[in-house]
Symmetry: C2
Subunit: 253 residues, 2 copies
DNA sequence: GAAAAAAGTTAGCCGATCCTAATCGAGCTC
DNA sequence: GAGCTCGATTAGGATCGGCTAACTTTTTTC
């Protein structure tokens, strides 16, 4: 019973998909990029439904040619599905930038609002906002905004703080968290995008960090969500990778 | 089988209602204000569903204490229902003002976008937009924006152009149309809010109008949707009402 | 004031999306 | 490689908001 014959439906603009379908595609995209691939369970957690619901939706998305899927395996987006997902990520991050810059939202407030608006704004709205903000390339958390043509900068040079060796210096570029309390903590610690940091040491529970003169422990849980632009090793320690201090970073949006 | 026992559900914030339910409440509100009351058929037309669907939804809304209803009669909003409806109208018109002023939308483009956004923005968004625009009191079509406290100016002094007697002078204040082509026509004819006009004569098919030096026929269909602030009768003709040139004005939003 | 027309309602149905409970399969453990 | 565990799927059901077709009530017409 090989489900999902290839590409059943005709061309799909994101417009014809339900917000729910759009959220599935977006989460599949975000999970594929990072982490261990888009499994039923991870999707269920991110989207806030039960695994059985995910299976059901994935079947429908497969029928419409938006995902490719084999039972008991992780899903992947088709090219069509990917396009819709990236379009949605553009909406989301553009909206976050807009809410922050134009409407004066705090950075911990933008995510929730963007989560709902992303499904509803027109291409005109997207266009006008992009104009107003002069085509921003980062949202308030440092996440790259896909271009109008849906090209997405890859940030390959960024490294997770949790995995940096002692002595590393660099600049915080992205904070891949959405939870308001967590973001407020990051702000309290002055670990915002743009801050210069140095890894003073490795703890079992996190990273000892030098930021703006002070030194403190950044718990692994937090360190795993801070992406750092590492400076060309000025210190002694060779920049070799460590493993296991934190799991690969993801973040919902 | 007297359906709808009074006030079943607990307090409802507009947040807990589906976009569909919100649209029903809004249209009931707009129809009650004007026109012959919110009948099943009129609601069906405005909302774009079949009459049977309206009956079904009205039953559900009655159960939740948002409308009062007797079979075969027009519906009315309860106080709770009215509050939600006005909140939605505020969202809608505030959004139209925002889209027009801040994002540079044309006045014929704002309605459609606001129609979708109104259900999705948070109170924070409403608040921030109101601040940004310094609490505007009119949307681009001249429709009054309910205040934060949901007070709605009544515009009782405005009269439908279609019903004005020959010789009346005044200023166009509201254009209660949403259709893009119709709005473009209005713009072409320079009948925008703020324009001074004089009724040069009554035709069977409309009104002969003097606007900015030129004189032309405004078809009844259009005239019924132009609300005029009538100047204290400077001309001879006593300002007595005419009937039948057009039906009472309404407009969806 | 009856009959016709129009408006409203009911009954039965459908698709989308979610749920719970039960079953199935993949992959690690020993 | 036989189990066991955990993740995934299936089965069955609920709710929501739409639809059509048939029926009922109100309103208009003459
Ligand atoms: Mn979303
Ligand atoms: Mn972000
Ligand atoms: Mn709407
Ligand atoms: Mn308007």
């Amino acid at each position: 019973m090989n489900a999902a014959a290839e590409g059943a439906g005709p061309y799909k603009g994101s417009a014809s998909l339900s917000p729910s379908q759009q959220d599935y595609l977006k989460q599949i995209f975000l999970l594929n990029d990072t982490s261990r691939g888009a499994t039923t369970q991870l999707l269920a957690e991110r989207i806030g439904v039960r695994p059985a619901s995910v299976t059901g939706m994935l079947k429908r998305l497969a029928e419409e040619g938006l995902v490719e899927r084999a039972p008991y395996r992780a899903v992947h987006l088709t090219e069509t599905g990917r396009r819709i997902a990236v379009e949605l990520v553009r909406h989301h991050r553009l909206l976050e930038a807009f809410l922050s810059r134009t409407l004066g939202y705090r950075w911990d407030e933008v995510h929730e609002e963007a989560e709902a608006l992303e499904h509803v704004i027109s291409e005109r709205f997207e266009q006008k906002v992009a104009e107003l903000l002069a085509d921003p390339d980062r949202d308030p958390h440092g996440d790259p905004i896909p271009t109008r043509e849906l090209a997405l900068e890859e940030d390959q040079h960024l490294r997770t703080l949790a995995l940096l060796p002692k002595g590393s210096r660099g600049t915080i570029r992205r904070v891949t968290l959405q939870d308001q309390d967590a973001l407020n903590l990051v702000e309290r610690l002055d670990l915002l995008p743009g801050r210069a940091i140095e890894v003073a040491g490795i703890h079992p529970d996190g990273i000892s960090l030098l930021v703006g003169g002070s030194r403190f422990l950044v718990p692994s849980l937090l360190a795993a969500h801070l992406l750092v632009d590492v400076a060309p090793h000025p210190s002694s320690t060779p920049p070799k990778k460590r493993e296991g201090a934190g799991r690969p970073v993801t973040h919902e949006q």
